[in-house]
Symmetry: C2
Subunit: 232 residues, 2 copies
């Protein structure tokens, strides 16, 4: 079974190590800061305190037996992050995922041996901008330059009808992936916009009838999704 | 037309302001650090240098005329981030998206008036962990507790066949939304994992044949997606 290690327990790395542990993956969490190692030790199988640029410390930790190492050292220690990545490559770790702070840093990491690079702030910056930029949509997840997953309120005129009657795909170019429907017996003061108040119905069939307050989850070209969002 | 402002031009905020500007949204970028304001000024319509906890500076910047303000101040200035959010609420900004460093910080931000909260490092930590934990999976976007959009390499055994022959929906419970196919005539050293090297085909029909290196974009229950990811 696969073994994981996370080096660098800043907010990003800590979350990676925590998620892997909570999902029952064998995880080794490493940081040079003893407090962070202490903090995570009750939640992961194995937590060690050492400097990952120290080759013999890496060897003692048997990093060469780990399948996937996530180097999550952040932008306050860019040189440690690059050197650690290079050492992991030397040790023959099969999959190295390294965190980059800039595009240039990402290119350097790939050169020294990272298999994949992730820039959390940049990726979330883009996703956040995309989400705030599209009104009337409660969620917009771009799939490409012009296609997206979107969540939209079902228009009044669709209530009581189904996907088949409305010929949604052929008329609007939209693929309905699922429906978020309000749970039964909700208290009056419940927030209808909170996803927790809804069940997600993935297996919504073309014959199922839309109800008041339903929210569709759809996929389509962004222009088609936006046209669709303006139907009354 | 909507107006946006981004306060705090760290790597997250800078990216939000840049993306909005590149997509032709009227964007005002603000930071107390003159170098960052200088750096972004060639790429946004409007960039101002001031302390966002200063009420009269916010008033002079006419923040009350802005539709959406993203408070992207980070974990080195948590109190500035909370106070700024509270001031934006007082000024009556209709939509305030604030960055949180911890769950407690997120709750405080909602109390002082943030409409939405985003924790970039935590969200990317989860996504990165999910991605490394599922082999063959290049992306996982949760839709609910147990349904997700996922991107997976097309298995060897599917090449040369189509959705209809393989009866993907009835056999695996998976809805294929689209295909990311490598562009024609790519240079040899191009990174095949980079989305830029691929075209996204939303209108992939049940009769279209899968090719080597294709990546599917699918929707399904997370357990079904993970089973599907392990097909050879
Ligand atoms: N050589 C090293 N060996 C082990 N851990 C290290 C090393 N260098 C830095 N770290 C650890 O990496 C962690 C994250 O790095 P850093 O502080 O640069 O990022 P950050 O931007 O604060 O992180 P985040 O944004 O995830 O909160 C820190 O806890 C730090 O102690
Ligand atoms: N009161 C303030 N008014 C305007 N800008 C501020 C204020 N306080 C902090 N900032 C700016 O917010 C930006 C981001 O904040 P901070 O340095 O705390 O985050 P960071 O963790 O380094 O950011 P990132 O992770 O996005 O790179 C900084 O550029 C800082 O100058």
């Amino acid at each position: 079974s696969k073994q994981f290690a996370v080096i660098g327990l800043g907010r990003f790395g800590f979350e990676v190590a925590l998620w892997l542990s909570q999902h029952h993956f064998q995880t080794l969490a490493i940081d040079v800061n003893r407090n962070l190692v202490q903090e995570i030790s009750k939640d992961v199988d194995n937590a060690m305190c050492f400097d990952s640029t120290n080759e013999s410390a890496l060897r003692d930790a048997r990093i060469d037996e780990i399948d996937t190492v996530i180097c999550a050292i952040g932008d306050h220690h860019v040189q440690n992050n690059i050197l650690t990545t290079a050492l992991l490559k030397q040790f023959g770790v099969p999959r190295i995922v390294a965190r980059a702070s800039t595009d240039l840093h990402a290119r350097i990491l790939k050169i020294v041996g990272a298999n994949e690079v992730v820039n959390p702030e940049k990726e979330m910056g883009m996703r956040t901008a995309q989400k705030v930029a599209t009104p009337g949509l409660t969620e917009l997840i771009p799939l490409s330059d012009n296609a997206a997953i979107a969540e939209l309120k079902v228009p009044e005129s669709f209530i009581g009808k189904n996907i088949y009657d409305l010929r949604i795909r052929s008329r609007y170019g939209i693929n309905v992936i699922g429906i978020r429907r309000l749970k039964e017996n909700l208290a009056d003061e419940i927030d209808k916009d909170d996803k927790e108040s809804r069940n997600f119905i993935l297996s919504f069939s073309p014959e199922d009838i839309f109800e008041k307050d339903d929210v569709f989850v759809v996929a389509g070209k962004e222009t088609d999704v936006k046209k669709f969002a303006s139907i009354k």
